[in-house]
């Protein structure tokens, strides 16, 4: 039998856990108390909480998506990052808990819940009613949970596999399961993005929206994986496993998704700008004036141009520390991107007007992502420590390790 103790995550992670829970728990309590006691703060608190949830939830749900993806594509990068992806995918339950405040406060966060006699909302009733919205959210979590449950179960069984054939069969099962699951995953992510973020603006819509989140959450996940691997790479056990070429491959995927993110956003902008239809342009108009244009420019420069140029060089992709620094940088910009998508939307308190950048910015936009992140990371690190850090019996493991050492 393989000695699992050799592949345990390093102990220092448990120190990180306590720290994360401390910060996350404290800030969560503060924000929740404020939201309960001060009704006029409730909308802002929920919006900030949503920002944190969409950002961290995107990483966790993104991990599930990339886990499914790597079973479909194969490749050494998938084998070495699988346990991180699995741990991320097992955070679906805590994500549901973190989503409860939004579900409870749906009528304080979404303007459409107050516009039930607006013709367009009346037309959308079969889709856009509070009961349906809650039902769908629960359904999304159940589906995600099931996807994560089976893939994690088979992967755990693979660790206990007695011989090569059994391990190979479990891998084949996971791959087979992943094909159709990918279809459902993309659909669920698309509609979750529509429900939770797009409907913040009760009028606007865009057919691209689901793809924006599929690609964006995928990018978040890859950045998160790179940051994790770089942190673990020089400690036992991963120092025997992770090589330069793994980072090179993951860096290429980061580059690809950075480009895809820009491509989707640019296409959406160009089409809406050219069409210049009143029901669509308002969304961009409120994101171009009142200081928001600066945020847009920051996104173009630092969410796309800068990472794109840096990731073109081979050196950066090969060096764990450099790549991880860039990954964290992109993650910060991912948060800015979510802020740009969420915050300028019309508010209930302003009767449907968008606020300017500084008027809409609140200290909770920083505190809530930290709060959600603390709790999420606490849970995630706990999950990460439960299993060996590599799928020890995977048929491709030997080859994946060899691949990493190459030039």
């Amino acid at each position: 039998m393989t000695n699992f103790e050799d592949y345990r995550a390093p102990e220092e992670i448990s120190r990180w856990r306590t720290f994360a829970l401390g910060i996350g728990g404290l800030l969560s309590i503060i924000i929740l108390v404020i939201a309960v006691i001060f009704p006029e703060q409730r909308e802002q608190a929920l919006r900030s909480w949503l920002l944190g949830f969409i950002f961290w939830g995107g990483i966790g749900i993104g991990c599930l998506g990339v886990l499914i993806l790597q079973y479909l594509t194969g490749g050494a990068w998938g084998v070495v990052s699988r346990r991180i992806l699995e741990a991320g995918s097992r955070t679906i339950p805590i994500l549901f808990v973190l989503f409860l405040p939004i579900m409870a406060g749906v009528t304080y966060a979404y303007e459409w819940t107050h516009l039930m006699d607006l013709p367009v909302v009346v037309h959308r009733q079969p889709y856009l009613s509070v009961e349906w919205w809650i039902f769908r959210a629960v359904l999304y979590f159940i589906l995600w949970y099931l996807m994560a449950y089976f893939l994690n179960k088979w992967s755990a069984q693979q660790d206990q596999a007695k011989d090569f054939d059994q391990a190979a069969k479990l891998l084949a099962d996971s791959s087979k399961f992943s094909g159709p699951t990918m279809v459902f995953f993309v659909l669920v992510v698309s509609f979750a993005a529509i429900d939770w973020v797009m409907t913040l603006d009760p009028h606007w819509f865009s057919t691209m929206y689901g793809f924006l989140f599929t690609a964006g959450w995928g990018l978040s996940c890859f950045c998160f994986v790179v940051a994790n691997l770089a942190f673990l790479a020089n400690k036992a056990p991963l120092n025997r496993i992770i090589g330069k070429r793994h980072f090179h491959d993951l860096g290429k995927l980061m580059l690809a998704l950075t480009m895809v993110w820009a491509y989707f956003n640019f296409s959406q902008f160009l089409i809406i700008w050219s069409g210049n239809l009143p029901e669509e342009t308002t969304w961009y108009l409120s994101r171009l004036k009142g200081g928001w244009g600066v945020v847009g420019a920051i996104l173009i420069l630092f969410h796309f141009a800068f990472p794109f140029l840096v990731l073109l060089t081979r050196d950066v992709k090969m060096r764990a520390k450099w790549l991880a620094s860039l990954a964290v940088f992109i993650l910060v910009l991912r948060l800015v991107d979510m802020f740009y998508l969420i915050s300028p939307n019309p508010r209930i308190s302003t009767h449907g007007k968008s606020l300017e950048l500084w008027a809409s910015f609140s200290w909770m936009d920083i505190a809530a992502p930290l709060a959600v992140g603390g709790i999420w990371l606490w849970f995630y690190f706990g999950e990460l420590m439960k299993r060996p850090l590599v799928p020890v019996n995977d048929p491709y493991l030997g080859n994946a390790i060899e691949h990493g050492k190459g030039h």
């Binding site: 959308r124 819509f205 865009s206 057919t207 491509y263 089409i271 069409g275 210049n276 048929p395």
Partner: protein, 477 residues
């Protein structure tokens, strides 16, 4: 400890070989090179070429008539001012995308299976782009003035409209054609040299020698060659996305319901790759039979292509679903009408459901291994998908235009015989070029297939791989 036979089994299972049979470096060159150099041209080739060439004549006659009479001979009218010309343009240009994806993106992703299909996929791209280019060129009515499309300082004081995606099309498609040609040609140079060295016929020898630009296969040649090839792959990669994105902008930047949707760029790109892989399968299944190339274009290749077709087809279906959902969700009068008109109340409802049948339902068979492994089914599905992708453009263009904002201008569209003859003629033209390619150039990249053989990997993964398997087995004990 497992014995060697088991190891070979395991190896074969988790890394299926990309070249089957017991091939050596020399036998690969023989097998592929002999098709052009030694073997007698098969009778079937003459028959096929003759048919294709005859059909291509229809194109020539149509063009002649078109140029003398003007584009009024087409069925385009108000409100459907664009129909077969743009449908066929988009259809052909989409088909080309598989070649670029295979040659560029799969190269960057280290996918070894691209090696034996890239050559004819790239040839297919070039010929498809040539067919596509004819439509915008001829729809100007005066193709000898087509250079007006380019922005150049002129005495007329006229500039093209830079805000129009039709203008971007000119740049995108001409860049695409240039890069695809370069990529294809650069890939052919070492093979031209091989043919030069093996040709007995002095004329052939002379032509292949000229085409190979003095390639001697020295280390320095190879070193520069590899860099150039990788750079070309890097340049081609964005082209896979950009060309069809810009084609989708032709529609989506307009305000017409059915055209104006933000999902269009990725959905068009996926559709293009989808149609392209269908065409690659249509071509490679007969080719591997007739020229006995099953050692190089293995069943694994077909299975993988089937999977790519399924994946891209599902993205296309996602596009249909989102278009329909948001058409309803928008609640806008014109959008709602478009969806209804397209799906059930309009006179073209049948084209939509045929499209769903061809592109949506037929590919669901590819979920099953049985169908992916069957040449017959793959071939059939590919043909159905090719028809479906043509219908998709018909649905987008004709059904969106024929009932636009003003009910007084509504009208049906009917193509004339010249619309059909032009389309049919381009198919003949495409196959004429393909037959010539199959006869005179190596249909599979000789030197790249050689790199797949075990002897090409002296320090290859084989021994390392066995070590790893053995190690992991031992550590378990």
């Amino acid at each position: 400890m497992q014995n060697a036979k088991d190891l070979n089994e395991i190896k074969k299972r988790i890394f299926p070989p990309m070249v089957e049979g017991n091939h050596t470096l020399a036998s690969v060159s023989d097998k592929i090179g002999d098709v052009t150099l030694k073997k007698r041209t098969p009778f079937g080739w003459f028959v096929g070429f003759a048919i294709a060439f005859l059909v291509a004549q229809i194109l020539l006659f149509t063009i002649l008539y078109l140029v003398t009479k003007g584009i009024g001979i087409w069925g385009n009218n108000q409100p459907v001012g664009w129909a077969f010309d743009i449908i066929n343009f988009v259809w052909w240009i989409g088909i080309g995308h598989a070649g670029t994806l295979i040659s560029a993106i799969l190269l960057l992703l280290n996918q070894k299976w691209r090696t034996s299909i890239n050559r004819f996929a790239e040839a297919m791209t070039l010929f498809a782009v040539a067919c596509a280019g004819l439509f915008p060129l001829l729809h100007t009515g005066r193709p000898w003035l087509a250079y007006w499309l380019f922005p150049y300082p002129n005495t007329m004081g006229m500039w093209p409209q830079f805000r129009s995606p039709l203008m971007w099309d000119v740049f995108a498609v001409s860049t695409y054609a240039t890069i695809s040609l370069l990529f294809w040609y650069v890939g052919l140079i070492p093979d031209f040299a091989t043919l030069r060295d093996r040709a007995k016929n002095p004329y052939f020898k002379f032509v292949y020698a000229a085409l190979s630009w003095g390639w001697r296969g020295s280390a320095r040649h190879w070193h520069r060659y590899e860099i150039a090839y990788l750079l070309l792959a890097g340049i081609s990669t964005p082209l896979v996305l950009s060309v069809h994105s810009i084609v989708s902008f032709d529609f989506s930047v307009a305000q017409l319901p059915g055209w104006h949707a933000t999902i269009f760029p990725p959905y068009f790109v996926a559709g293009a790759v989808f149609a392209g892989f269908a065409m690659v399968l249509i071509l490679c299944i007969p080719l591997r039979h007739w020229y006995r190339m099953k050692d190089f274009i293995t069943d694994t290749h077909l299975i993988l292509m089937g999977k790519v077709m399924l994946a891209t087809g599902l993205i296309v279906c996602y596009g249909y679903a989102m278009e329909a959902f948001f058409g309803w969700y928008s609640g806008a009068q014109y959008e709602l009408y478009m969806v209804k008109n397209r799906i059930w109340t309009g006179p073209y409802w049948w084209s939509y459901w045929l499209l769903i049948l061809c592109n949506g339902l037929s590919i669901q068979l590819l979920w099953f291994k049985r169908f992916r492994e069957s040449e017959f089914w793959l071939f059939l599905i590919s043909i159905v998908v090719s028809i479906g992708m043509w219908l998709e453009r018909f649905v987008i263009i004709v059904t969106s235009l024929h009932r636009d904002f003003l009910p007084s201008s509504w009208a049906m569209y009917s193509p004339t015989v010249f619309d059909w003859s032009m389309f049919l003629g381009t198919i003949g033209f495409f196959f004429t070029l393909l037959f010539l390619f199959v006869r005179f150039l190596p249909i599979i990249s000789i030197f790249e297939v050689r790199t797949l053989l075990p002897e090409a990997n002296v320090h290859g993964h084989h021994e390392e791989f066995e070590d790893n398997i053995l190690m992991s087995q031992e550590s378990e004990k």
